[in-house]
Subunit: 354 residues, 2 copies
């Protein structure tokens, strides 16, 4: 695959300028762009700048509001319910995370339910912020139907990503971020973007047959991770993110790649103030010990290192900020076209030709 | 497999009498026995009465205290930390769940961290109680090392079960309860108990080779569900249940089948009062709708029904309470021997010979 490697900050600036041209306030635009560029740096291009095109289409159609002004539906102290009013998912989520941390400082734990939001990028981008504030961060969301309920052959269950992050002591944050499909739908879009085929364990086509064609998989049905367990987890994430928050759920939720329909997705954010449970120093000492013991086990054949969850992304982000972010040609072309349409100068200078 | 089907209440009475003979207070003993018998009714004998023998051995050795008196380490309003002081896991967990619900009533959300507890039976038994109180129940625990960290070949990661339950509207509760291994370790014990072999995808033996022998699997290493995702989930459950609560973690946690060592396991309990987020009636209406939509999808070939998570157990429990609980001969023999040793009359009358 050919493409270019560009400096991360320049890429954020370009993305932000394109969003500003569509009415998104400058600080908000920079945050959204950073959330996408960071996913590219982590090596998750499925959730990276290739999504900017989708966001712009939704802003243009008016189904995502450029100026995000969440409404407080209910404020119960340790629990808050926000209505995202169809604003930008990243911005509604940033407000929710800040509120959850604030309430955790007061009560030990804080919960913020967000209804009628939009796609927020990666879940880990947000739980990492909560971890950086010294809390345990938990975030669930629901997405458009991607899987059949176990034993069915019609999609009602989203991939419904969820993430848990904590501080990592002397390391970067410890972070889990998974979709409950065998693979994230975005990885199939990335394969489509790259023109690659996919393993036949990822999805069945619309007739129910396993497929290696990413386009047939997108039109077909993803399989859950871990069989019925993945179905169960994803169902519960929809209950938490959609049913409980008062947002859309099941087939009511629309994906970010649909340009002209309201998303309906919801999020549940929980922050736990570590200082109010155990004390931060003690937690850091213990997590350092857990990481050290985990990384010191004998290795399986062909393996060079055991990683704690999130470690690979921690390293990749450090490398990306220093050395630049790789973008495939197709994404570069899309960005160029978005920039031209928005009247924004397209000034990406490759850090290195790949 | 031969065995007998016995009335559930008689089985609970027998289990309780055996525990009382070892110093467990009567109400506590009945609760512990009910938690095991209920698992048998659900069709999860791996977590059923076959474990009573293990509990008795631990009570006799003095590593599990018969009279459970948790100490409140910290009371921060919405968050509480308890030290189980090596008491019976079920009793420490019952206190923690009641406290979490009480704090959720006051603050909208309540969290109780429990350190130095013991095995508590199934996680679902406890989250169902929280759901019955009108709350979302979330419970995590950590167990003795069962898996290698991804890429390693030495056990440091437990199966670390976790459960989420909510009320199910006009249905029984909606319940997720999973271990992060491909299978629960208890299923391998159940296969051993029944003299059956296991699929070769469940575990590797101590040399790293996949095995169909349950004994070799118990001595070997379980594989996580969903590959590296299962490793990540289980690692985080150890962070929440062990590192954050101030309890044991990783290789410090000892399994309930070890008769003479302190458990060191911890639990994290969260309750969310649905009435403080959305209102119970609205939640019930929405979950009924989600269940109806889930159960009405077209079925895959050979499938007779789609179930919501927990539905199979809801039905099995109803049937078990009406028709009795099946016990394999080996478990019956163990119970008889426990009863004789404890000087308790063994009076199980089969409801039906199987």
């Amino acid at each position: 695959m050919t493409g270019i490697t560009v400096p991360a900050d320049r890429l954020v600036e370009l993305g932000a300028a394109i969003l500003v041209a569509h009415g998104v306030p400058e600080d908000d635009a920079r945050l959204v762009a950073d959330s996408l560029v960071t996913a590219d740096m982590w090596g998750h291009p499925s959730h990276g700048m290739l999504r900017l095109d989708w966001y712009v289409a939704r802003l243009r159609a008016g189904v995502m509001t450029a100026v995000t002004e969440p409404e407080t539906v209910l404020d119960g102290g340790a629990v808050v319910v926000l209505d995202g009013r169809d604003g930008v998912g990243q911005i509604a989520t940033e407000r929710a995370c800040a509120l959850a941390v604030d309430r955790a400082r007061q009560h030990g734990i804080g919960l913020v339910a967000v209804r009628f939001s939009n796609h927020f990028g990666t879940a880990a981008y947000w739980t990492r912020r909560i971890a950086d504030a010294g809390c345990v961060g938990i975030l669930t969301t629901n997405g458009s139907p991607a899987m059949a309920p176990w034993g069915g052959r019609e999609k009602t269950v989203g991939a419904n990503p969820w993430s848990i992050a904590t501080p990592g002591g002397s390391h970067g944050p410890v972070v889990l971020d998974i979709a409950n499909t065998g693979v994230a739908r975005g990885k199939i879009y990335a394969a489509l973007q790259k023109g690659e085929s996919i393993p036949d364990t990822w999805a069945i086509d619309s007739s129910g047959t396993p497929t290696t064609d990413p386009r047939a998989a997108i039109e077909g049905i993803l399989l859950p991770m871990a069989g019925h367990k993945g179905y169960g987890i994803s169902f519960m994430m929809d209950v938490l993110s959609g049913v409980l928050t008062g947002s859309g759920y099941a087939t009511d939720v629309v994906g970010p790649y649909v340009p002209d329909q309201r998303s309906g997705c919801g999020h549940l954010v929980v922050a736990i103030d570590i200082d109010r449970i155990l004390g931060r120093d003690e937690f850091d000492r213990r997590i350092d010990d857990l990481i050290a013991r985990t990384k010191s086990v004998p290795l399986a054949a062909g393996v060079s290192e055991v990683f704690y969850p999130g470690e690979i992304e921690n390293r990749a982000e450090e490398r990306g900020r220093a050395e630049g972010v790789f973008l495939p040609d197709k994404t570069v072309d899309e960005l160029k076209s978005l920039a031209v349409d928005a009247g924004v100068p397209f000034d990406l200078v490759p850090a290195e030709v790949v």
